[in-house]
């Protein structure tokens, strides 16, 4: 039986908890950020190998990925590598987050999870189509930059429905994408920082801060 005089305090605690739980996806796992970062680094290395293997130009980043001879193969190989990175990162997030939800006794699949995914996927799909439609006409560095920028916008959008830190991860990704436009000769390194290093640091930070 609850002490009558503690009731208002307990009421406030319950209200706060429910407001937070019902409006934010709190099961997002920090470990999945680290996993996404490792996948991102591997992807950047794969992209480096594909580009070095297929193009004779040292200023490849100023030329469209989809232009010139032997280009169709380059684009296909790069897209395949990126698809693998995306699937590994996404599946990792799904598996690790449902594990975290189970551990903390929360439902992973809630209305707010759905809303977070929609707000994530719309900018991401727009970015995917943008890249697909421009890969033959814009410089490779612009293609890489747009992947970072659209991804960052997607994170900023999804951040409204999960930890606020995700918003800042998005901001960081957008900044990285803009840096890629200014320093095109470092395209691969900047891309590796954006999708690899930043994710790993972010994941570590979230893991230590929110346990899981």
């Amino acid at each position: 039986m609850m002490n009558q005089s503690d009731q208002p305090l307990e009421d406030i605690r319950v209200i706060r908890k429910l407001m937070e739980e019902s409006s934010r996806f709190l099961s997002l796992s920090g470990l999945s950020g680290i996993l996404a970062g490792i996948a991102g680094l591997a992807g950047a290395y794969a992209a480096h190998l594909v580009i070095k293997g297929n193009t004779p130009y040292t200023d490849w980043y100023l030329r469209p990925l989809g232009g010139g001879e032997a280009a169709a193969g380059t684009v296909l190989e790069l897209f395949a590598a990126m698809a693998v990175v995306l699937v590994v990162a996404f599946m990792g997030a799904v598996i690790l987050s449902s594990r975290k939800a189970k551990k903390s006794g929360l439902h992973a699949w809630t209305p707010v999870t759905k809303r977070m995914l929609v707000s994530l996927l719309i900018p991401l799909a727009a970015g995917g189509l943008f890249i697909l439609f421009t890969v033959k006409t814009v410089p490779a560095s612009v293609t890489a930059a747009s992947s970072l920028i659209f991804y960052g916008v997607a994170m900023m959008n999804a951040g409204k429905f999960t930890f606020g830190e995700i918003h800042w991860l998005g901001v960081l990704e957008v900044v990285t994408g803009l840096a890629c436009l200014l320093l095109p000769q470092y395209t691969i390194i900047i891309w590796a920082i954006g999708f690899g290093v930043i994710h790993i640091f972010y994941g570590l930070f979230m893991h230590l801060r929110y346990r899981g």
């Binding site: 005089s5 208002p8 305090l9 009421d11 406030i12 319950v14 209200i15 429910l18 407001m19 739980e21 019902s22 409006s23 439902h107 809630t110 209305p111 707010v112």
Partner: protein, 98 residues
């Protein structure tokens, strides 16, 4: 003290009702199953509290069909948001008194 108790809304005395109001205050709308899972209550219990809040004019119900399945979603009314926030203020004042 009288003033505080005047704002202390009887309709929100139950934890479940307080929970429903909390969830709907920060979400544009939520369906029955979403509320049930968030609050971890039984169907019957939730339904009766939802009905009471709806009759008080604090929440509104909307029946829709999603893939031909009936879907009932609830959202907070202006009156509901107003009385919920004054109830919160009353709670805070009660705590600060101690």
């Amino acid at each position: 003290m009288k003033q505080i108790l005047a704002n202390f809304n009887k309709a929100f005395e139950s934890r479940v009702r307080l929970g429903i109001m909390s969830v709907l205050a920060v979400n544009p709308a939520m369906d029955f199953t979403g509320l049930r899972d968030t609050l971890a209550v039984t169907d019957g219990n939730l339904a009766s509290h939802l009905r009471a809040l709806e009759e008080a004019g604090y929440i509104r119900m909307e029946k829709n069909f999603i893939n031909r399945k009936p879907n009932t979603s609830y959202s907070i009314t202006e009156a509901g948001l107003e009385s919920f926030s004054s109830h919160l203020k009353a709670l805070e004042e009660l705590i600060n008194r101690k």
